[in-house]
C-alpha cells in the first residue's frame, strides 16, 4: 500500500434548482492510495458523477459544495480560487470522459487539443517536445500518430476513447478519474478499452478512480470500491470483500441483478422502484422503501444513515447492517 494521494472527507454538495436544493452528494468520505484503483458504483443519478465533478470542482454553476474537504497530497482543494484550481486540474487530477460525450471540440484537431493541455501546464516545452510526448501517449494507448491531424468526427468511438485516455495522461497527473469511460461503446471495444486502461495503470502506476454503473466492470478494474445510493456511500471496502460478503441489501441486489458467465446458474433479481427524489431532506434510511426486508426501525425511519466498520476496512451503512 502506497501513501494516501487523495483524501475526501465528509463531502457535501447540492444543486440549487427551481424546486429547491437537491442534495447530490451527502457526507461522502474515501481515501485513494498511490497506485491503487478505487471504484464508485451505483445506479444512474446516485451522485457518482457529482463526486467526480466535485473533485475537480467542475460542477455546474448552480452546484455548491456546502461542507467537507478534498485533500490532494495534503493540499486542500475546497475553497481554492479558480486560478489555483487551474494548476491542479489535469496536472493533479485528470478525467477520462465518456466517449459518447462530445468531449472533443468538433472544430479543432485532436493533436491540437492535447497539445493545448500540455502547453498550459508545461509552458516551457518546445513544439518538438510536445509532439514527442503526444506520440508517446498515442503509442501507449495504441493509436496511430496520424490521428493527431484528424478532426474528432473522423474517428470511430473506440479511437476517440483511446485518444481521450491519451489526453487524460498528457500531463502525467497524480490521479485519473475514469467517468464511465466505456458506457457508450460496444462490448468488444469496451473490453479493449478496459484492458488498455488496466495496462496503462500498471505501466504508469496511476491512482485511478473508476466510476461505473456496471458492478462487473468495477470488480474487474478496482482494488477498493464504494457503493453509492441516493448521494451517500452505503458500503465501502476492498472489492474482493464486498463481492464475497456483501453486507448492504442494496449491494446484494446490485450483485444479484448482474449475470455471471461462470459458476452456478442463478435467477437474476431485479430492483423494484425508483431511486428517491433528492429534493426533500429525508430522515433515516433512504433505501428502506425499496429494501426487500427492512427491519422495523429501518422502516420507521428511526435510524440515521451512518457507516460502521464491519471488518477491517469494510464499512457498511448502519441501517442495513442492523436489519440485514
Amino acid at each position: 500500500m502506497g501513501k494516501e494521494v487523495l483524501v475526501v472527507d465528509k463531502l457535501n454538495m447540492h444543486y440549487e434548482t427551481l424546486d429547491g436544493p437537491v442534495a447530490a452528494v451527502k457526507d461522502v468520505s474515501f481515501v485513494l492510495n498511490e497506485g491503487e484503483s478505487f471504484g464508485l458504483v451505483g445506479e444512474s443519478g446516485c451522485g457518482k458523477t457529482s463526486v467526480a465533478m466535485s473533485l475537480l470542482q467542475l460542477q455546474a454553476d448552480n452546484a455548491k459544495i456546502s461542507s467537507g474537504s478534498i485533500k490532494l497530497e495534503g493540499k486542500e482543494l475546497v475553497g481554492m480560487t479558480e486560478n489555483e484550481l487551474r494548476t491542479v486540474r489535469w496536472d493533479g487530477i485528470s478525467i477520462v470522459f465518456q466517449g459518447a460525450m462530445n468531449a472533443w471540440n468538433p472544430v479543432a484537431k485532436i493533436g491540437e487539443q492535447i497539445r493545448e493541455a500540455i502547453r498550459e501546464h508545461r509552458p516551457d516545452n518546445t513544439k518538438q517536445e510536445n509532439t514527442q510526448k503526444i506520440e508517446e501517449l498515442f503509442n501507449i494507448v495504441g493509436l496511430d500518430n496520424s490521428i493527431m491531424d484528424r478532426y474528432p468526427h473522423e474517428l470511430s468511438g473506440g479511437m476517440k476513447q483511446r485518444a481521450i485516455i491519451a489526453l487524460a495522461l498528457s500531463c502525467d497527473p497524480k490521479v485519473v478519474i475514469a467517468d464511465e469511460p466505456t458506457t457508450a461503446l460496444d462490448v468488444v471495444i469496451q473490453d479493449q478499452i478496459l484492458k488498455e486502461l488496466k495496462k496503462v495503470q500498471n505501466l504508469l502506476g496511476l491512482s485511478l478512480i473508476y466510476i461505473s454503473h456496471d458492478i462487473a466492470v468495477i470488480a474487474e478494474m478496482t482494488d477498493n470500491m464504494a457503493v453509492m445510493y441516493a448521494g451517500s456511500v452505503v458500503e465501502m471496502g476492498p472489492t474482493a470483500n464486498i463481492f464475497n460478503k456483501p453486507k448492504h441489501a442494496y449491494t446484494r441486489l446490485l450483485l444479484e441483478s448482474t449475470p455471471s458467465v461462470v459458476g452456478k446458474r442463478k435467477k437474476l433479481r431485479s430492483l423494484d422502484g425508483e431511486p428517491p427524489s433528492l429534493i426533500n431532506e429525508n430522515k433515516g434510511c433512504s433505501f428502506s422503501p425499496r429494501c426487500p426486508e427492512p427491519s422495523k426501525e429501518c422502516k420507521n425511519q428511526e435510524l440515521d444513515m451512518k457507516l460502521v466498520e464491519i471488518s477491517k476496512g469494510h464499512w457498511a451503512d448502519l441501517c442495513c447492517v442492523s436489519c440485514g
Binding site: Y15, E16, T17, L18, A60, D61, N62
Partner: protein, 359 residues
C-alpha cells in the same frame, strides 16, 4: 370506454395546464423578458385607452382626435425690441432674443398697433406639454399624446398581423420543404433566395406606387415578403431536426399518413420556434412601417413614423430639444415597443430552448 376517454382528456388538460404553469415560471425568471412584457403591456394599455377615453366622453374628439383634432392654446407674449448689438445684459447673442415668453416687435406685421412692453395674444403651435395636453400639441394643434396612442394601435395591428401572416406562411413552407425534400425543397429555397435578392426598401416603394398602402395592406405585404424570405430557411432547418426524431419514425411505422405526420408531429414541434420568430418579426414590422412612414411613402393618417416624419419636415428635429415633445416621444415609442417585443422573444427563447436555461 367513454369514461376512460373523458379521463384521458381531463388528464391531458391537466398536463397542458401544468406545462403552461411551468413555462410561465421559467419565463418569469427571466428578468429582461418580464421587463419586455411590461413594456408591451404598457403600450397595449395606451392603445386601448384612447378609444375608451373617446367613448366615455372624457376626451372630446374635436380637440383630441389624433388626425383632425385641434386645440387653441392661447399665450400672452411680451412685446420687446431686440437690441442691435450683442452681448447685452439680457441676451448673450442674437439667437437668445426674443427669449421665452417674448416676441420681437419687428415680427408683428399682423398687429402694427402694439408697442414695446404691451402683451400680444397668440395661439402657440406646437404648444409645450400642459395639464390638458400631457405631451403638448404638434404644429397643427393636435394632441401628441393622442397621436402616440393612435400610433401604438397602428403598431400593434400592423406588427401582429404581419408577423402572424409571415410566420404562418414560413412555418408551413419550411416544414413542407423539410418533410418532402428534393424538388419541393429546392424550389422553395430558390424562391426565398429570390425574395432575399430583392432590395426591400425600393421594392416597397414600387409597391406603394401601385396603390395607396393602408395599414393592413402594408401588413399583408410585409407579412408575405417576410414569410417567403429568410425565415423559411430557418424554420426548415428546425423542421429537419424534428423530422429525424424517433417519434416521427414511430408515427411512420405505425402507419400515420404523410399529412398526419406533418400536422400532428412535425408542425407542433416546430411551433415554439415559430412563435419565437413571430415575436421577433413584430419588431421588424414595426421598424419597417416607421421607416416607410418616415420617408413619407405611406398613406396612413397617423403613426409614430409619420410623427417623426412631420417633425423632421417641419424642421423641428434640428431645433434640438426646444421642441422635445415632438421629437422624443414618437422615436422612443418605436424604440421601446420594438425593444419590448425583442425582450419578450428572448424570454421565450429561454423557455423553449432548454440549452439556454440556467438550471
Amino acid at each position: 370506454m367513454s369514461n376512460n376517454l373523458k379521463e384521458q382528456e381531463e388528464l391531458q388538460k391537466q398536463l397542458r395546464k401544468d406545462a403552461l404553469r411551468k413555462n410561465w415560471k421559467l419565463f418569469s425568471q427571466s428578468k429582461l423578458g418580464m421587463i419586455g412584457l411590461y413594456i408591451v403591456a404598457f403600450f397595449l394599455f395606451l392603445a386601448l385607452l384612447q378609444p375608451f377615453l373617446f367613448i366615455t366622453g372624457i376626451w372630446n374628439p374635436a380637440i383630441y382626435d389624433p388626425v383632425v383634432g385641434y386645440d387653441q392654446i392661447k399665450a400672452e407674449l411680451l412685446v420687446i425690441e431686440c437690441p442691435k448689438e450683442y452681448p447685452t445684459e439680457k441676451y448673450e447673442s442674437y439667437s437668445d432674443c426674443p427669449g421665452p415668453g417674448e416676441v420681437n416687435i419687428k415680427k408683428l406685421y399682423m398687429a402694427p398697433d402694439l408697442k414695446v412692453g404691451e402683451y400680444y395674444d397668440t395661439f402657440i403651435q406646437p404648444a409645450p406639454p400642459s395639464k390638458t395636453h400631457l405631451l403638448g400639441t404638434d404644429s397643427l394643434g393636435r394632441d401628441v399624446f393622442s397621436q402616440i396612442m393612435e400610433g401604438s394601435q397602428v403598431a400593434f395591428v400592423l406588427g401582429l398581423l404581419s408577423a402572424t401572416l409571415g410566420v404562418g406562411i414560413s412555418t408551413i413552407l419550411g416544414t413542407i420543404a423539410a418533410f418532402f425534400g428534393g424538388r419541393v425543397d429546392a424550389y422553395l429555397m430558390r424562391q426565398s433566395d429570390l425574395i432575399l435578392m430583392l432590395p426591400s426598401l425600393p421594392l416597397l416603394f414600387i409597391i406603394s406606387a401601385f396603390a395607396e398602402l393602408k395599414v393592413w395592406h402594408l401588413a399583408v405585404v410585409l407579412g408575405v415578403l417576410g414569410g417567403l424570405g429568410g425565415s423559411v430557411i430557418t424554420i426548415k432547418s428546425q423542421a429537419l431536426q424534428v423530422k429525424v426524431k424517433p417519434y416521427v419514425d414511430s408515427a411512420r411505422i405505425t402507419g400515420g399518413s404523410k399529412w398526419q405526420i406533418l400536422f400532428q408531429h412535425i408542425l407542433p414541434n416546430v411551433a415554439p420556434l415559430a412563435l419565437l420568430f413571430m415575436v421577433f418579426s413584430v419588431t421588424g414590422a414595426i421598424a419597417s412601417e416607421s421607416v416607410l412612414s418616415f420617408l413619407g411613402l405611406l398613406n396612413i393618417d397617423m403613426s409614430w413614423g409619420i410623427m417623426i416624419y412631420l417633425s423632421q419636415t417641419d424642421g423641428f428635429i434640428f431645433s434640438g430639444l426646444d421642441f422635445w415633445w415632438l421629437i422624443l416621444p414618437a422615436g422612443l415609442a418605436v424604440t421601446f415597443l420594438a425593444g419590448g417585443f425583442y425582450l419578450v422573444g428572448r424570454g421565450l427563447d429561454e423557455v423553449f430552448n432548454p440549452r439556454l436555461r440556467k438550471r
